[in-house]
Amino acid sequence: MTPSTPIALIPLAAADTVPRASNPLARPVLTMDALPDHMRPERSFQGFILALQRFWAEQGCVILQPYDMEMGAGTFHPATTLRALGPKPWNAAYVQPSRRPKDGRYGENPNRLQHYYQFQVIMKPSPPNLQDLYLKSLAAIGIDAAVHDIRFVEDDWESPTLGAWGLGWECWCDGMEVSQFTYFQQVAGVECAPVAGELTYGLERLAMYVQGVDRVYDLNFNGREGAEKVTYGDVFLQAEQEYSRHNFEYADTAMLFEQFRMAEEACRKYLAAGWREGGNQKEHLMALPAYDQCIKASHVFNLLDARGVISVTERQSYIGRVRDLAKACGEAWIHTETGRAV
């Protein structure tokens, strides 16, 4: 496995060394200075998450809790995938545990995990100052744009399983990709009207940068020191080892193939059952439960893929099957109370 290299600590929280007035963007939205040390975003992983949540709450987002299903990215959360569709405004932010079975490294790689956190923000319609809001959010977690080199580097986003695409950037901080910034153009095969802006922060990576650690397991989770200190490794190392074993060696493939089939079938069944003729227009009454089965199918596929039991040619067909489900769910969603045109 990749050897970890000597750590050179960078000056922490640049805001401490540079007069804040030099950069209006760095002016804290919250009184971060009033926080106890162990809650500061550059000291603790949880403080880091809380700072982001507070920042986006201030911007009028509803702060959701993680969706209660396994998924590969925060984008899969219905609060993004489905809520991005339809004309009604929607602003939300949430942490989503993201499972990438193939990225497991038995806890031996300093920055690859099969389970990690994404912080997801979705704003529909995309506000005109979304870039500025994003930069302010960085300031809120201790990244001062006057001292760091922050860049928006082209990155077109496409999700073949979700039938979605958008244009935007990878956001770089001193040469490191810290976030993904996307203007959704299409989701679940449906044109976004209006367009939603999506921000995804890779929380561990950002926190490692802010805390100045080179190994994810060394992140200070609770901001305490000495005997009270809990690290990311204390929380997740064993899980990484166990799930890597599971994902690559033991996950029951016969069961998973069956689960994929069942999820696909259930999704179609719920979709079919949900359509109603209401007045002049068609109406759907079960888009959300159907979409859960699509999420399920997608995760099961990822597990099968990690187990190496899906050949290159089959792979495309599985992705296509999930996409078909996602599209059918999108179509159903825009005929629900929340998803349809007013």
Partner: protein, 723 residues
């Protein structure tokens, strides 16, 4: 005359699109100005990550007045026609119309004068259309307006438009228009972080200066110059040398508005990784330059980064941050490289059985076996050791499965060479890993080591034959399997190395490789040209016929024509040689074309060509008239004039000499022999009337003409030569 300043201020434009976008903006605006009668003096466009800007100077303040005539109905035409004419032309009555006579009668003519409009109004109309139809490779919708169809699309959200028009000496006017709610004005913004405030601009000169004061360097070339100069300087100051990289420079200059160049370093232990891997890691992932030691030519543990801000700490945080990012990247690369070294290349091959090359052409493993087989056939023809060639072919693609190549596909081949050398392979075998991919393009190097040549040819011919047989041929601009490049590669390798190879035969071996593997797609494809497929390996002649029937021959000869034309040779000479038939040794074709070109530059050549053409033309006419050909030897007894006898003798002599020279592949000699024909041909046409009254004499003379044509065919088909 007034100048126009236009700026389109947006969120970050992808670096790779900026140069073309600036050019498109200049072209679209200036083309439209000219089309609208506004001939300008000069224009220049610029791009930064956040803006496209255009200055056009010397635009007339008004369009010229336009006068035109419009023809109306005949005098006495029905009233409806007259009313329609008046309505269309704006005339009040027919009294205002002129009357014009022509052959068909008297017509009303309206004189229409269209006064020119103020240029600023014309511009205000054209810019919104240009913005809405701008040819971005990919564009997007955004914001609340995207709820409605027909909302503006741009590469990224467009925030502001600056458009001013006026004389240098006066306060310019704002060009008044709006696009999807964005009003044109004269306000732009400075650097995103260092001077984000609004700036009011009047005209290009103060626009550029004010931007500079607000930490934006508008001209991409100026940004490139700064980056390159500063980067060289930083390296030089440490006794080092920047590894220049134009593509990277272009990209980096499109990622910053205010370039600040700094140097960072990484741990020396990473220098154990091959230089190319270090460079690919730092360049692709971090968009940084690498630095070498001029004494050794090897990379050092430094890199050069370009930031977008002047930080109050002198950039210390930025450099430290970049170093922190580069370290794990190099650490990954080192890990990949060292992991790769642990597995021998041949041990990777079994994995190729799982990888489909093309659904009709089988797996990569099958492909590699065919290439090995074919390379072994080619090896003796190009002077390569057969065993080394087979080994090289077997290992040449194994690096595709290595970690480093998985990460950096552009290092394919090169890594194979490193790994082959590391596992103790012969130098020629190792080199073939890298060389067999070449030449990648018309300017790429051609392999020269015989082992590399054999593998490179085998690889390309296998691809060519396979895709051709399953009918995946290039059409128009589409060539998804790069068959044109493969064919051109074959041509360049053979000619540059002066290898004599009968392509018909070698292509036959390539087909055999597929057929031995039981590939029914290729078999049925080939059987469409040659039945049964095995005849393709029969005599050279039958093979050649099959390649001609399948269109492979003309595909290759077309590529050769392109190649020779690029070198300045005449394409008709290539046709003249190929038209002889059976030409599958490309080196000989080229030699013939060269000799023919020289010959035709001489007086003898030109006159002989004229004489031969004359003979061919007469024959063509008479053959058509008599509905027969005039083959067969002329009868010496029927010669009436000395010129006939002399010509007949010259033909016999030239035929013998030219054929002997051609047999020795002495094409220059063949041409000199041919030259001896000229005085006899000239004299013949001078004194002899071909269409003699005596039909027997006439027939005999036509046969003699046919002999001229036949004699020249020893070197080329003169009828295909132009001029």
């Amino acid at each position: 005359m007034p100048d126009l300043l236009l700026e389109l201020f947006s969120e970050e434009i992808p670096a790779r699109m900026q140069a073309k976008a600036a050019d498109d903006l200049r072209r679209m605006v200036t083309d439209k100005l000219v089309a609208d009668g506004l001939v300008y003096e000069g224009a220049k466009a610029f791009a930064t990550p956040r803006r496209l800007a255009l200055t056009v100077h010397g635009i007339p303040a008004r369009q010229p007045d336009l006068k035109s005539e419009r023809r109306g109905p005949k005098i006495g035409a029905p009233d409806a026609a007259v009313q329609g004419f008046l309505k269309a032309t704006g005339l009040k009555s027919l009294d205002e119309a002129k009357i014009q006579k022509d052959a068909k009668g008297d017509f009303y003519i309206a004189l229409i004068e269209k006064p020119g409009r103020a240029a600023i109004d014309v511009i205000a109309e054209m810019i919104p259309v240009i913005i809405r139809t701008f040819p971005w490779p990919k564009s997007m919708r955004w914001g609340a307006r995207s709820a409605k169809s027909g909302s503006l699309t741009w590469v990224r959200p467009l925030h502001a438009i600056t458009a001013t028009f006026g004389l240098e000496t006066e306060e310019p006017d704002v060009v008044k228009f709006s696009v999807d709610g964005i009003e044109a004005g004269q306000t732009t913004y400075g650097h995103r972080f260092m001077a984000p405030g609004a700036i009011s601009v009047r005209r290009f000169e103060d626009y550029e200066a004010k931007l500079k004061a607000a930490k934006v360097i508008l001209d991409p070339q100026a940004r490139k110059d700064i980056i390159l100069e500063d980067a060289k300087e930083l390296a030089f100051a440490q006794g080092l040398e920047l590894v220049e990289d134009q593509v990277l420079l272009d990209e980096v200059s499109g990622l910053v508005e205010w370039p600040v160049v700094m140097m960072g370093s990484f741990e020396k232990e990473f220098l154990s990784i091959p230089d190319e891997v270090i460079r690919a890691t730092i360049r692709n992932n971090q968009k940084c330059f690498v630095v070498k030691d001029p004494k050794t030519g090897k990379l050092t543990n430094k890199f050069v980064l370009t930031a977008n801000i002047e930080a109050p700490d002198g950039g210390k945080t930025i450099v430290a941050g970049n170093e922190r990012v580069i370290r794990p990247r190099l650490s990954d690369a080192k890990f990949f490289y060292e992991t790769d070294l642990k597995t021998r290349l041949e041990d990777r091959l079994s994995k190729f059985e799982q990888i489909v090359f093309h659904e009709k052409l089988g797996t990569q493993a099958a492909r590699i076996k065919r290439i090995e087989r074919l390379a072994a056939e080619i090896a003796p023809l190009v002077g390569a050791d057969v065993e080394k060639t087979k080994r090289a072919a077997r290992l040449a693609k194994a690096d595709l499965l290595t970690e480093v190549v998985g990460e950096f596909p552009e290092l394919q081949g090169l890594m194979g060479k490193y790994y082959a050398l590391a596992q103790g392979e012969d130098a020629s075998v190792a080199a073939a890993s890298e060389e067999h991919w070449k030449p990648q393009g018309p300017t790429d190097r051609v392999p020269t080591d015989p082992v590399s040549v054999a593998v490179a040819l085998a690889d390309k011919l296998d691809t060519l034959v396979g895709f051709w047989a399953i009918d995946e041929k290039p059409t128009g601009s589409k060539d998804p399997y790069a068959l044109r490049r493969a064919a051109l590669g074959v041509i360049r390798i053979l000619i540059a190395n002066e290898h004599r190879v009968h392509l018909a035969e070698v292509l036959g071996h390539a087909v055999a490789g597929y057929i031995e593997q039981g590939n029914s797609h290729v078999r049925s494809g080939v059987e469409a040209w040659a039945k049964p497929a095995e005849t393709i390996r029969g005599t050279l002649e039958s093979a050649f016929d099959a390649w001609s029937a399948g269109g492979v021959s003309s595909f290759i000869s077309d590529r050769l024509k392109v190649q020779l034309r690029d070198q300045g040779a005449r394409h008709d000479l290539v046709d003249a040689v190929f038209s002889l038939g059976g030409q599958d040794d490309l080196l000989l074709v080229v030699r013939r074309v060269e000799a023919l070109g020289k010959f035709l530059d001489s007086d003898d050549g030109k006159n002989l060509l004229a004489g031969t053409k004359r003979a061919s033309n007469i024959l063509a006419i008479e053959e058509k008239k008599d509905k027969r050909t005039f083959d067969g030897a002329p009868d010496a007894a029927l010669y009436k004039l000395d010129e006939e006898k002399t010509l007949a003798k010259a033909i016999d002599q030239v035929k013998a000499e030219a054929s002997a020279a051609v047999a020795k592949e002495d094409f220059a000699g063949a041409m000199s022999a041919m030259a001896k024909l000229r005085p006899a041909v000239d004299a013949f046409f001078d004194k002899v009337k071909v269409n003699d009254d005596d039909p027997k004499v006439r027939e005999n003379r036509l046969k003699l003409l046919n002999e001229i044509r036949a004699a020249t065919r020893a070197v080329a088909d003169f009828s295909r030569i132009e001029g």
